[in-house]
């Protein structure tokens, strides 16, 4: 217990340090406009990382996610721009394709026992190649110049200020209600409950954070739709992992696959389901990332799988499976997105960016191992 708390405080300190550093170097980092952009970038990184969590929990990994992001975004863009397919239909088709392909990869992993590392490494190359084939190595916009469609709106639309405030108030009220009911239920069942003061302080801090986000967002153009999408995905993944049998199975398989089999856990269907969900999330991330760039190019999605893994691990997800949470992943994604955003602001050269990303990834995994060692001894 003590160990994990040290880790959380350390990570919080790291985030504060990162923000302080960028704010000092580039005061524009804290401007409403940049924070709004950062929140969209966070939405993209974090959504993919939440999908990665679903695959990491049962002890697998998806290295093809970044290429998948490029490919699904490209398929949708090509369907719209070159074939005149309506945007919603194009998004749906690309999503279905991703669901099927990722379910197939999951099946190869769990039925044929090919390590996920290899299968998805293959996927990384295959999808990248397909991506370039699909777009003919050119740049394909997500919508004809100057107009808007469902696709482009993913990252260009913002909630009007009032809607933002109403939404924030509703979320805070819901949080208060749910936590209140949960506390009552736990107390009734004789389970330990955090003491009242801490609980209320926690809620107030959360409410303030949400309020602050909306105020800053409204200072620019309003709450970005992408952030709302991220919140929805986060809520769904949280519900799935913490409150469904499927989620329990993910943790059980990652914790001890043999015991899970003996306990009658449907290991095959669970892992295939996790990969399929990952496919859906890859498609969604692909749309957001491509829409954010305005067009699909050969570099879209490149290396995003590693940012997603880094976000998960920074957030306390174990690469061996069985441990990880949505809140942690969101936090890890915020660190990654802040780093990338800040470095771009400082006009850091791509060489240095690569080195920094790699360093953070290695550091996070090393920390993860330290924690695991602390537990086992």
């Amino acid at each position: 217990m003590q160990d994990t708390h040290t880790r959380e405080w350390f990570m919080l300190g790291a985030l504060v340090a990162i923000w302080a550093f960028f704010a000092w170097q580039e005061p524009v980092f804290l401007s409403a406009r940049n924070l709004s952009l950062l929140s969209i970038e966070l939405a993209v990184t974090a959504t993919l990382a939440l999908g990665m969590l679903l695959v990491l929990l049962p002890g697998h990994i998806d290295l093809s996610a970044g290429s998948g992001v490029g490919l699904t975004g490209a398929i949708a863009a090509v369907l719209i721009t070159w074939h005149g397919v309506p945007a919603p239909v194009a998004l749906l088709l690309a999503t279905l394709a991703a669901l099927v392909v990722w379910a197939l990869m999951g099946a190869l992993v769990v039925v044929e026992r090919v390590p996920a590392f290899i299968i998805t490494l293959g996927g990384l190359l295959v999808f990248r190649g397909l991506h370039w084939l699909v777009i003919n190595n050119s740049t394909v916009p997500v919508v004809a110049g100057g107009s808007q469609n469902t696709y482009s709106m993913l990252t260009t639309s913002f909630l009007p200020p009032l809607a933002g405030y109403v939404l924030a108030a509703a979320v805070v009220a819901a949080m208060w209600l749910v936590s209140q009911r949960r506390r009552a239920a736990r107390a009734k069942l004789g389970l330990p409950v955090a003491d009242r003061e801490r609980h209320v302080i926690g809620l107030i801090i959360a409410a303030q954070a949400i309020g602050l986000v909306v105020i800053i967002a409204n200072d620019y153009r309003g709450l970005p739709l992408a952030l709302v999408i991220l919140a929805t995905v986060a809520l769904l993944v949280h519900m799935v992992t913490m409150h469904t049998p499927f989620g329990r199975y993910l943790y059980a398989i990652g914790g001890n696959e043999e015991a899970a089999v003996v306990s009658g856990v449907p290991v095959r269907n669970t892992v295939i389901g996790a990969f399929a969900l990952m496919g859906g999330i890859v498609a969604l991330t692909g749309f957001m990332q491509t829409a954010y760039s305005g067009a699909t190019t050969t570099t879209i999605g490149s290396l995003m799988e590693l940012d997603a893994v880094a976000a998960c691990v920074i957030g306390g997800t174990s690469l061996r499976g069985g441990r990880g949470s949505v809140a942690g992943v969101l936090f890890g994604a915020l660190i990654m997105a802040s780093l990338l955003n800040g470095m771009t602001l400082m006009a850091v050269s791509p060489e240095i960016k690569y080195i920094a990303r790699g360093g953070v990834l290695a550091l996070a995994v090393w920390l993860d191992l330290r924690v695991a060692r602390g537990r086992s001894s």
């Binding site: 069942l189 389970l191 049998p245 329990r248 914790g255 069985g322």
Partner: protein
């Protein structure tokens, strides 16, 4: 008695708020075999880990002396160089390396900078001979049985010529013959002046080998007895803190309807292998305990796992539950039909150690406590809480990590998980292995309660007294076939052993 080779003074150790040892003193004389007894959680393993340097100096209170001089172990290496060798319960061998490599790792003989394999194999063969093994040292350790691996592990410890040997449950996985080899080895080491601390749940072994016995309970030493002046009951009373009347409290019930029926069953490890289980046919009735015995490798565990759909390929025959035939190889169908298993290896096959008590308890029955596709937290806590109370699982909360519980309590969680599926037939594979006397009794009482409620139980055990004490009927397996079947009333150790060795192929029941 001369100066003790090893002495522990008033050792106290706590893990956070949990007190593991509260002022234990303990002395090991030269050339003596000193048994440490106590229930799981009594503090034996903690004490051993202190002596092995795993819990370093400074993490505990008290003093450890070797030959009368205080020592401060900061690592396992320090303890080793003081002449202490510890064989832990969990094996620490490299399955993909050869026996010779395992034995001599770190001290492989070299010539001109290359490994001198002839010399290595010769040395390895000598070391193997010391523990009574005549194996090819070039074999991969992974191809050996657990018992042989255990002996290899001991040979490796002896290669360092320790003066103090600590054996933690060394015979848990050994066959009768291997146990005898091991006990003889310990006797011989004693004559060579090696002092030995011997930890075992098997009191017959303890009495066969030990000069003195120290009993621990709740982290405190309850007393040290001279083995030949003491009896089993006295030791058990010290261990559990109260006298035990009947070790095997089986109350037989009337046999009900047939619950599990197996006909002409042949099964093989995989598609290519020859059948391992052959011509198996038996019926278990409601309210009945069918005991299954046999030597290591007779196919007991394989049979239970195969019934669940977890092992091997069916060649012939049927398995039916309440008249309804089970599809082979489908564990979920078996569970839905009312079959549940408590596996022998609870850490590997039974538990998600990093997850909580409730998580593990409800893992097999999540569908029953899910509403509209969501786990109902209240229903889960109620079900898990009732099971914890019912089985008297000692745990701080329902969310405590299972890995932090003692062996007996872990076993109760595995049993509770099976019971929450509301099985009609419960398969128990060595349910009391590695758990202490108190927890054993609770398992036996539970078997009585379940059969009173009309459940059928298949009990696999390698302890003949347990098999004879708790079964209504006993079936001995010999090389995958039925070696003999006995009613409880006519079963004798002699007859059961003969059947297990295939000497009495006829059916005595």
């Amino acid at each position: 008695m001369s100066t003790p080779v090893l002495e522990a003074h008033a050792i106290a150790k706590r893990f956070g708020g949990v007190i593991a040892l509260r002022g234990v003193s303990f002395a090991l004389a030269a050339g003596e075999v000193h048994a440490l007894c106590g229930e799981n959680g009594a503090g034996k393993s903690t004490l051993i880990k202190l002596l092995a340097g795993i819990h370093p100096h400074g993490s505990y209170d008290g003093r450890i002396e070797v030959d009368g001089n205080e020592v401060q172990f900061h690592s396992a290496r320090d303890a080793e160089s003081a002449g202490i060798a510890v064989i832990h319960q969990e094996l620490a061998l490299f399955p993909d390396l050869t026996i010779a490599e395992n034995l001599l790792l770190g001290s492989l003989p070299t010539r001109y900078g290359l490994v001198d394999w002839n010399e290595a194999l010769t040395r390895a063969r000598t070391l193997l001979a010391d523990v009574g093994l005549t194996l090819d040292p070039a074999r991969r350790v992974g191809t050996l049985g657990i018992g042989q691996q255990q002996l290899v592990e001991i040979a490796r410890a002896l290669a360092r010529r320790p003066r103090i040997l600590v054996l933690d449950e060394p015979t848990a996985a050994l066959s009768r013959h291997e146990i005898d080899t091991l006990l003889a080895l310990v006797q011989r080491l004693r004559t060579q002046g090696v002092a030995c601390i011997y930890i075992s749940h098997k009191l017959d072994e303890v009495f066969a080998i030990a000069d003195r016995i120290t009993v621990l309970r709740d982290g405190a030493a309850q007393g040290t007895c001279i083995a030949r002046d003491t009896g089993t009951t006295a030791i058990i009373a010290l261990m559990v803190g109260r006298p035990i009347e009947d070790l095997y409290p089986r109350r037989q019930r009337k046999r009900g309807e047939p619950a599990l029926a197996v006909h002409g069953l042949d099964a093989a490890r995989d598609q290519r292998a020859a059948p391992w289980l052959r011509e198996l046919a038996f019926t278990v009735h409601a309210g009945e305990v069918l005991g299954i015995g046999g030597l290591m490798g007779a196919g007991r565990s394989e049979l239970l796992l195969h019934l669940m759909g977890l092992w091997g390929e069916r060649r012939r025959g049927t398995v039916a539950l309440g008249g309804q035939e089970l599809p082979p190889g489908d564990v979920r169908a078996a569970m839905r039909a009312g079959l549940a298993i408590v596996t022998e290896d609870r850490k590997r096959l039974g538990l998600v150690l990093d997850a909580g008590v409730a998580f593990n308890l409800t893992l097999s029955s999540l569908r029953a406590i899910a509403r509209h596709g969501f786990v109902d937290d209240a229903a889960e806590a109620t079900a898990a809480g009732a099971m914890v109370a019912d089985l008297r699982v000692k745990t701080a909360t329902l969310e405590t990590r299972v890995g932090a519980l003692s062996g007996g309590n872990q076993q109760k969680v595995v049993i509770g998980k099976a019971l929450l599926t509301k099985p009609r037939v419960l398969l128990l594979d060595e349910p009391t292995r590695g758990i202490d006397v108190g927890a054993k009794l609770e398992v036996y009482e539970l078997i009585n309660r379940l059969t009173d409620q009309g459940q059928a139980i298949v009990l696999v055990s390698s302890e003949l007294p347990e098999l004879m004490g708790m079964s209504d009927r006993i079936m001995m397996l010999h090389e995958g076939r039925i070696g003999g079947e006995f009613e409880r009333s006519v079963a004798t150790q002699q007859a059961l052993l003969s059947a297990a060795m295939g000497i009495a192929p006829g059916r005595a029941a």
